[in-house]
Subunit: 366 residues, 2 copies
């Protein structure tokens, strides 16, 4: 055990000189920002992050990453033994090419001139970046929500490269109900006059629209039970009956979360990622679900979270059944939680062991 290696993560960027999108459009000088944690060599696990996540999965002691409860030294994914890599998604706003990046063609930020980015584009960009980094094999691909969508695309697009697949809180396509929330969130951003067709500035920023969009997201991330248990109609203000007065703690909480989000996320990037989610459908342009799934017949681990409004356990169970029929070795777990969708970001003790088991070598090594 080399103590000085603890908490050392490497961050960097990879540049793809030319990248061809699913639409056929070519982008030049595409950057992908990444974090590498754990041993410097070995087949890594690729983590795919969710909508508002980023590449800082492990982070540092001072600034722990969003999945440090799962992936850590001696964690469920053990960084003493297992390297882990995460890319910020294409279209994101944490260092990878996205609406904030300079368009080489105009020397101006892309803003809304960036072409549509699909989940498949995110995955293909990661694949090309891994090639440049000299990585041919992934010990596993793991992700939840938008990260789960990417993981699914990874398995069916590059099955030869992926040893094990772990998908949480994601389904084979986004449901119409899920799209509904996204449509409302986009309208909230675009109807903010400060959005200005994407040409906002720091001084004239669509704070209201992005904040609303975040609040709309928040209510789908956690269950009604959790909201009710946490706030039980606690008042913030004794009367609070004027429209602008915040009467209840739950309102105050949501407004705070909405506002906080505007300090860390780019509104245009949010629009791109929502559109990518809407478009997510692993069958599209391929074949039936089962035939599509049959291209990956190795170990598949699916985890759903009780009360997940957007990716209900019943839907994930159907995916598990279909994949089993399609020839994979499927393990499915439904986590009993009041967190709902956000289950994959919390209560690691409930499902971390399942992930740990998933990553164990099943065959004798020799």
């Amino acid at each position: 055990m080399v103590v000085k290696q603890l908490n050392q993560v490497k961050t960097g960027t990879v540049t793809l000189p030319v990248f061809t999108l699913e639409s056929g459009i070519q982008l030049k000088d595409v950057t992908l920002a990444y974090e590498w944690a754990g041993p410097e060599v070995g087949d890594p696990i690729l983590v795919c992050h969710a909508l508002t996540g980023n590449q800082h999965t492990v982070g540092t002691e001072e600034e722990p990453g969003w999945w440090r409860g799962l992936i850590n030294y001696s964690g469920y994914v053990d960084l003493y033994e297992q390297p882990v890599i995460t890319f910020n998604v294409l279209g994101g706003c944490n260092g990878s090419t996205g609406p904030l990046s300079i368009n080489p063609a105009s020397d101006q930020p892309y803003r809304t001139e960036l072409p549509f980015i699909s989940v498949r584009d995110m995955v293909k960009a990661q694949k090309e970046a891994l090639n440049i980094l000299g990585i041919q094999k992934l010990k596993g691909v793991i992700g939840g929500s938008l990260g789960g969508m990417q993981a699914l695309e990874w398995a069916v697009t590059f099955p030869e490269m992926v040893e094990k697949l772990i998908v949480m809180a994601a389904t084979s396509s986004l449901s119409d109900y899920g799209m509904s929330y996204n449509a409302i969130a986009r309208k909230a951003i675009m109807d903010d006059p400060n959005w200005n067709e994407g040409n906002y500035t720091d001084h004239s920023f669509p704070t209201s629209g992005l904040s609303l969009a975040r609040m709309i997201g928040m209510i789908t991330y956690r269950s009604d039970q959790l909201f009710n248990q946490r706030f039980h109609r606690e008042k913030k203000d004794e009367w609070g009956t004027k429209h602008k007065e915040v009467a209840y703690q739950v309102e105050s909480y949501l407004l705070y979360q909405g506002d906080k989000f505007t300090k860390r996320f780019d509104p245009n990037s949010y629009l791109y990622l929502l559109k990518a989610m809407d478009n997510h459908d692993i069958e599209a342009g391929r074949n039936t679900l089962e035939k599509t799934l049959s291209s990956f017949q190795k170990e598949v681990y699916l985890i759903s979270y009780k009360g997940d409004l957007l990716y209900p356990p019943a839907d994930m169970e159907r995916l598990a059944e279909a994949w089993e029929i399609a020839g994979a070795q499927v393990n499915y777990k439904e986590v009993d939680t009041i967190f709902g969708h956000d289950g994959f970001l919390t209560e690691f003790d409930k499902w971390g062991a399942f992930v740990h088991e998933a990553l164990k070598e099943k065959r004798p090594v020799n």
Copy 2:
């Protein structure tokens, strides 16, 4: 059977010269608009309408009311025998005093100068209006959602006047989760620059904000199953990948519903009614739930709808149990539906007979 009476409904208004709100504030010349259907005499059933409903419960053949599937000549509630009255709620925008009404103190519309209106205020105003109309007894009080909240308040505030209580899709208080949707809807309206602190005009109207608010409501009214079955990711536009392009039918549907709503509802009124819902809690300022419920010990009929996100069947079942302990004759029904909350506005054949039975005379007459 007098055929010419068919489809005749009487509409009118009642004016309360002075009305004292729960807050102690007095309003002058309060108007309540109403619809009376069925026989001209007899103890009526009082219908309480939901958030975006109105007094036109039965309506006419040309313009059928919102509950004509339940209440009609030879309907589950039979207008040949049973008179039915509905008031537009205080704070509403269909003829009763609300933000659009002229404030006698200023000769200008109240707009946001109208004091806070609670569900209890709505109920007390109805009671005083019924007094003026010479009605001492109600054969029943019936309502769903915000209408159910009013019905609950009716039973515990004026138990002597109510013979039977029928509540659908409503609970003893609004949950924090329910408030969350309301908070977001209010922010959407108030953040629309055209809202202008409530001083909008026809030419500068918060269409975007009210439309968003309606869309936020829509996704709570119907279940994910219904959305998915109805739209199954059907595309509206083959590509539709630019932010402003509407790619899927479900988006198109929601945008259409949002826009349509802005042509029939007053944004300020919507804000008042949402605040009233947030505030709804039959225990508040009274006693424990059971002691509060014990003031009404007659027949109680509760109907919940599977998949109701805001008023889950489990919560209504708890209310039924508490009321039984509190001494009422409680009948509880959970309707199996994919409509969710909107179940009380549709599929009348699934629960109309339950209402019909509820209204039957149980004791031998004479």
